[in-house]
Amino acid sequence: MKTIIVVGNGMVGYKFCEKFISKKGSENYKLIVFGEEPRPAYDRVHLSEFFENEDAKALELAPVSWYVDNNIDLITNERVTDIHRSGKTITTAKEREFSYDYLVLATGSVPFVPPIKGVEKEGVFVYRTIEDLEGMLAYAAKLKKTKPNAKAAVLGGGLLGLEAGKAVMDMGLEPHVVEFAPKLMPRQLDSRSSKVLQLKLESIGINIHLSKATNQILGNGTITGMEFGEDDTLNVDMLVVSAGIRPRDEIAKTCDLEMGVRGGIVVNNKMQTSDEAIYAIGEVALYNQMIYGLVAPGYEMAEVAAEHILGKDTVMSSEIDMSTKLKLIGVDVASFGEPFMPAAKGHSILFEDKTKSLYKRINVSHDGKKLLGGILVGDATDYNMLHQIYLNGMAIPENPEDLIIGARGEGGASFGSAMDLPDTAQICSCENVTKGTICGVIENGSCENFAEVAKCTKASTSCGGCKPMVVDLVNETLKSLGKEVKNSVCEHFDYTRQELYGIIKVKRLTSFDETLDACGKGDGCEVCKPVVAAIFASLYMDTANKEDVIQDSNDKFLANIQRNGTYSVVPRIPGGEITPEKLIIIGEVGKKYNLYTKITGGQRIDLFGAELNDLPAIWKELIDGGFESGHAYGKALRTVKSCVGSTWCRYGLDESVSFAIELEERYKGLRSPHKLKGGVSGCIRECAEARGKDFGVIAVEGGWNLYVCGNGGATPKHALLLTEKVDNETCIKYLDRFLMYYIRTAAPLMRTAAWLDKLEGGMEQLKKIVVKDSLNIADELEREMQFLVDAYECEWKQAIENENTKKRFNHFVNSDDRDDNLVFVPMREQKMPEHWGN
């Protein structure tokens, strides 16, 4: 058994232990941890929360029992004073000696206290440990008893300094922040954003003093003020020094480890110091000639050291991401990537609104394709997404400004949800948890909510900055699972319609049973059967006669079942154009079979009240008269409505009726996820209401404008412009592509408008796919559509020509009797079914 001594029990030292014991092979090592503070490691990042609850336990990373349970010797209140490299031992302040095989130095840092005259006076504090805070609290309480309007200053306007500013404000003291640089948070913010932050902080009562070099601390034994220059003083009763950190590297000096010029123990990318049995991690380690004061790189160092001791060759990233996001006194502040970018590398886009304390800056590469960094003040909601886009080098919108001001005109955010990130995207940089891991534990059922995911993956258990994103991912994944129950067709097929479409196509499945056996389970149901039937129709142009038992209610009998179980009959009247002779035929049929007749909204004639037994005879007469099925019963192309167009209309610009007929003839019988309707208008007066259809064509000077994805119904939507001024041929080409793409990808019973809403990238994306062929599938789509067009057959003609098929229209299998349950009542010279009794 080998011994590892960890010197330092801060966040990084603790993280080393946690990571180490979770690894294979760690059972062969004994861990001894030294901490000089009286308590085990706690969360310094959230130190200011101590003011809110004064509960040190709440900040604890793990209780003492955790060390016991994991067989780690935790020795608190005992500082390691010397390292004897030759004998591989250390001694402590209590003069005890311990041997090690590996030594891990995680001594962290101490606040940097500038050598200012008088800094030793009473009332001057540093902001680092719980003890520091307790000292400040006690002093503030004492102050307020004698001086209710006591003032406190914070030396340092950096990240930690502003946190300290909030802390003293919470203590009831008048807060002043004093910064040497001409701006706040000089390492993270540019001047403009710093100004926005300053105005905001001032508005809530924090006094900001910039460009102030403190000469000395005034007071006789106890602080009474600060002096900056001649005649420039600030009276304060307490001072908190927050002027940065210095690595705690004294111990390395005792044993001649290589050090940086300005401190820090030099490490290589395996976290080894100049003595390979000694590692240094966290804020004491000087890596790439830098001290990293953030939690995330510290944790990565802990991981690298743990792995390396166990014989793996993991190395530290060569570039450390210094992006940060925090909430300062209710103000979001974030910076990522390169916040200040030289003009040589790209250009910046700025948005500033001082009235709302908002500032956003993004830096974009010259070619406009990559996000290089940015700054957000006032609203950092988009930080996580922007940070991920930056980290993953993801493509950014054509108009990069959409990233910070939102896509105009469409109301939506210009980037999708967290779900759009690649699985490899690192969501929690502290704990190095990827999107794949987070979604994975939900998908495999091991976690069901954010708390469980955090516990299981450790995501957002450290700085918590990624919490909104993790919550998003958890919710979206859960939704997608919940939806998957909805999205997956039903209990028999664990696939979406689109997936099922793909499977059936690739495996060339042609019957329902075959499909169930290949990729489903059980016996099917009223949900999956019609879906599969429609897919067969969309792929092979199978009519509903081929496998009638899987057809939906209406398709099964090629007619719409009505309120009393009778059916309606709708012959196709392309474009709404019909001769008087054909009108007479319809009239004769209606009279003969005593049918209620009505003109439909789609410019054709519906005959209601036909009994099942009569359907074949009715259709024989219609077909003999030159009619075809109108597919009014199917999730299929219904009609292409038209206005009279230039043929008769004095305003018409083109022959809308002719084109409507051409389109209806082309797409008749086309089965789709939901019904499809079209319209063609001869001019922009739009008498055919084409823009209220799934596809609408309007004649303009110079050609046809093609609009898609509109509908009437419960949520009316106007169709949107897909392309302008095209000729008939081009219009049909784009329509072929559009319709086929919709048929391929939509969910069952999803009309084109809803489908477009769900389509990532919306109309712009659809234009790219259909017009620009961005997916390189246009040929395939056109071919598939042409196959369907060529394979069209009137299914009513099929039905009446086949004796066996005709049999399914008998009401009884053992009798020629009709359904004696039917009752009709008169209604305005026609008839209607008796009202439902219940």
């Binding site: 028999h492 049973d513 016996d523 059967k529 038992v549 179980g565 009401h811 009884f812 349950n821 219940n838």
Partner: protein
């Protein structure tokens, strides 16, 4: 309406007094249904080929009192064979008659037997 419904009462195999010879097996679509007329009753009969079973129930959907169940779609819900009404997709267990997706009254079911390629339905009268 009530009077129509009251005509249909579940018959268990041990209550069968009459085996009515309805039609030949070939008259029933595989995995589909057909309606059999027996006296003044309409009985939906299903050839659930995939399960290798036959089922019979009232043709009347208790929801809107239409004679349509034989035109519905067969399926199963967690293994329970069911029929979905073509009107509003109310589903009923073909074993117990229970309404699976609502709280409608159960439909009456009847025993079916196949002998010499003929389909017989069992009635208690």
């Amino acid at each position: 309406m009530e009077s129509i419904l009251s005509k249909y009462i579940k018959v268990s195999p041990n209550e069968v007094k009459v085996w009515f010879k309805a039609a030949s097996v070939g008259d029933f679509h595989e995995n589909g249904g057909a309606c059999v007329k027996y006296r003044d009753k309409q009985i939906a009969v299903f050839n659930f080929k995939r399960k290798g079973q036959w089922f019979a129930c009232q043709n009347l959907c208790p929801h809107k009192m239409e004679m349509v169940l034989s035109r519905g779609m067969l399926g199963d819900e967690n293994g329970i064979p069911k029929i979905a009404c073509p009107m509003h997709k109310k589903t009923f267990s073909l074993e117990t008659g229970e309404n699976l997706n609502g709280d409608l009254d159960a439909i009456a079911t009847y025993p079916v037997k196949i002998e010499n390629d003929f389909v017989y339905i069992g009635f208690s009268e």
